[in-house]
Symmetry: C2
Subunit: 344 residues, 2 copies
Amino acid sequence: MIKGCPFGTHRVIEPMGTMPQAALKIDNTMKIKNNELLLDVMTLNIDSASFTQIKEACNKDIDKMTTMINEIVGERGKMQNPVTGSGGMLIGVVKEIGPDFPDKSLKVGDKLATLVSLSLTPLKINKIKNVNVSNDQVDIDGQAILFETGIYSVLPADIPEKLALAALDVAGAPAQVERLVKEGDTVCIIGGGGKSGVLCAYQAMVNAGASGKVIVIEYSEENAKRILDMNLAHHVIIADATKPVEVYEKVKEITGEDVCDVVINNVNVANTEMSSILITKDDGVVYFFSMATSFTKAALGAEGVGKDVQMIVGNGYAKGHADLTLGIIRESKTIRNLFEKLYV
Amino acid sequence: MIKGCPFGTHRVIEPMGTMPQAALKIDNTMKIKNNELLLDVMTLNIDSASFTQIKEACNKDIDKMTTMINEIVGERGKMQNPVTGSGGMLIGVVKEIGPDFPDKSLKVGDKLATLVSLSLTPLKINKIKNVNVSNDQVDIDGQAILFETGIYSVLPADIPEKLALAALDVAGAPAQVERLVKEGDTVCIIGGGGKSGVLCAYQAMVNAGASGKVIVIEYSEENAKRILDMNLAHHVIIADATKPVEVYEKVKEITGEDVCDVVINNVNVANTEMSSILITKDDGVVYFFSMATSFTKAALGAEGVGKDVQMIVGNGYAKGHADLTLGIIRESKTIRNLFEKLYV
Ligand SMILES: NC(=O)c1ccc[n+]([C@@H]2O[C@H](COP(=O)([O-])OP(=O)(O)OC[C@H]3O[C@@H](n4cnc5c(N)ncnc54)[C@H](OP(=O)(O)O)[C@@H]3O)[C@@H](O)[C@H]2O)c1
Ligand SMILES: NC(=O)c1ccc[n+]([C@@H]2O[C@H](COP(=O)([O-])OP(=O)(O)OC[C@H]3O[C@@H](n4cnc5c(N)ncnc54)[C@H](OP(=O)(O)O)[C@@H]3O)[C@@H](O)[C@H]2O)c1
């Protein structure tokens, strides 16, 4: 048993020289290297964009979907949708731990969720047992490999699996809020009524403290009301984040000309860069967690209005992000109840 | 004379509610509001992507190009290429200053370069006097408006106009290096042999100091040699930044497993996100100045290899960026000579 590349490049078959995520085909031999982890897989949580594509391509026919998933994994050695490029995550039980795998606290038999995308995870499916069209989950009998740099979270005993999964999916966002927001800050969470937004609003309230100000911008009245009822913000603005002038005016009514120290963008739609930039003060920070963010729109947008703001790309990973996020679920009964209702 | 919106939204004609950059048509009436600036325009520096598109669409026929530019500005009220969406910058002389325009040191008759894109600048062309196909410049008789938030730089007397323009085009990059790099840091500049790269390498050498280490990654041997000759780096690596594994291995030969504190990406090609991330240490910073950066590739790439790095979107503007950049041109004879050779 020899040591593999920490990033898993030793398993790339084609094209050579690429990383596992960019590869078209990776080696899914279920024999681990010294620094790999072997998992018995129970459930695949297919990424929503990927699952929707498969569902539509197969007219929701379960047999066809089963065949399609088997074909993808058979061809690529990983569950990466060739159309969307996206993956998802999985739930599995630790079967074997390479002697050089870094986490020494992990034990055979631990149940965990991988937090690294299926689009780069070596996977072998023996049998697809169930395809659940309503929640994007596929139960399988199969195995997967985690590389030395692969991230995961041991599933806690006190939180239902699906609730934990839903929260862990966006764990990077509240972890960044924890780093960026200081006591007394004025913070705005755009799309604060969504899954990641709620977690960010909670963390912002904690960090900004009594002297701070947390503003949530939400699209629907219903979600806006929920945020206020849950006490997750000092102010809620109902506005369309794709309308920068409207958003700017409404934020200014609350903050005055100074606008915000930190802005967190958690929407799931395009064209919200400019709103985020306008409501951030000079020397302030915009954190773009939304995957609908356009790099050039952000870069040129800030220059266009002469705003010296720092704009951060939402890295899905931050040290300790899983613990922090599960901690919020434990601390906040209202968020736990909401997530149980929405995602379990 | 009343006050306009600082961002110029009062001049948006269509669609209403958008910002001037996103607008299809803006009001180019050359009568200023209280907080605007009126310029007599001498030269348009058309953005390279836009100029190339126009040149190709017109088969390099100067008359056709003249007509096309006149039509675009006639229709939109600004020189924004409808295909590329991009603009450029202009050189002009201050004709009239609104009483509420913020910069009180500016005088009628000052010659300046706008640092805000032509894609949002109200422009009226009376006559196109010359189209220079070799350097993307168009001499005109015309006028333009700068909004309250519009940024510009008064052209210095001691630096040739075209040299200043070339440097100011990328002024945001060295200004960020100045903020991000600390004494003793290991810094890597990817694409360090290009225009912005050279300025970044210079500033990194200054900030990292004697105890620091500056590494430049360049594609061509010629550019690599030039960097060493100019003493702009401690190490130069010749590599293709789209090959993450190769880049990572070569950087590790210099830095050991620790890799870099700060990575600056100045390339002009796609698919270099992963190289940038791999050579950045945990808790390190990647600054993406390259407009070819993909937001999702950066966000998912870092998560995929479990890297807790901060990734920053290259804002074209930073306070003091023009002064800092012109300062480098004044301090460094070798950079000045190189830029004179390449861009004047
Ligand atoms: N960077 C990463 O690593 C990473 C990881 C996971 C997810 N993400 C991204 O994070 C984003 C949010 O994910 P999520 O699960 O939190 O999504 P979500 O639950 O669907 O939340 C999105 C929120 O945005 C609101 N919204 C939509 N359009 C809006 C508009 N025009 N103006 C104002 N608010 C608007 C929605 O409000 P309504 O419900 O009222 O419409 C909703 O509250 C997605 O783009 C996802 O791709 C990033
Ligand atoms: N964020 C902003 O506000 C802003 C403003 C202006 C410009 N920009 C962007 O900044 C970037 C750089 O601009 P620039 O004017 O400095 O460009 P440039 O002078 O053309 O420099 C690009 C450099 O990248 C190198 N390069 C190209 N492909 C490479 C590869 N595969 N591996 C390693 N190096 C490679 C080139 O090397 P060779 O010459 O050897 O091929 C060259 O030295 C562009 O993407 C531009 O759009 C951003």
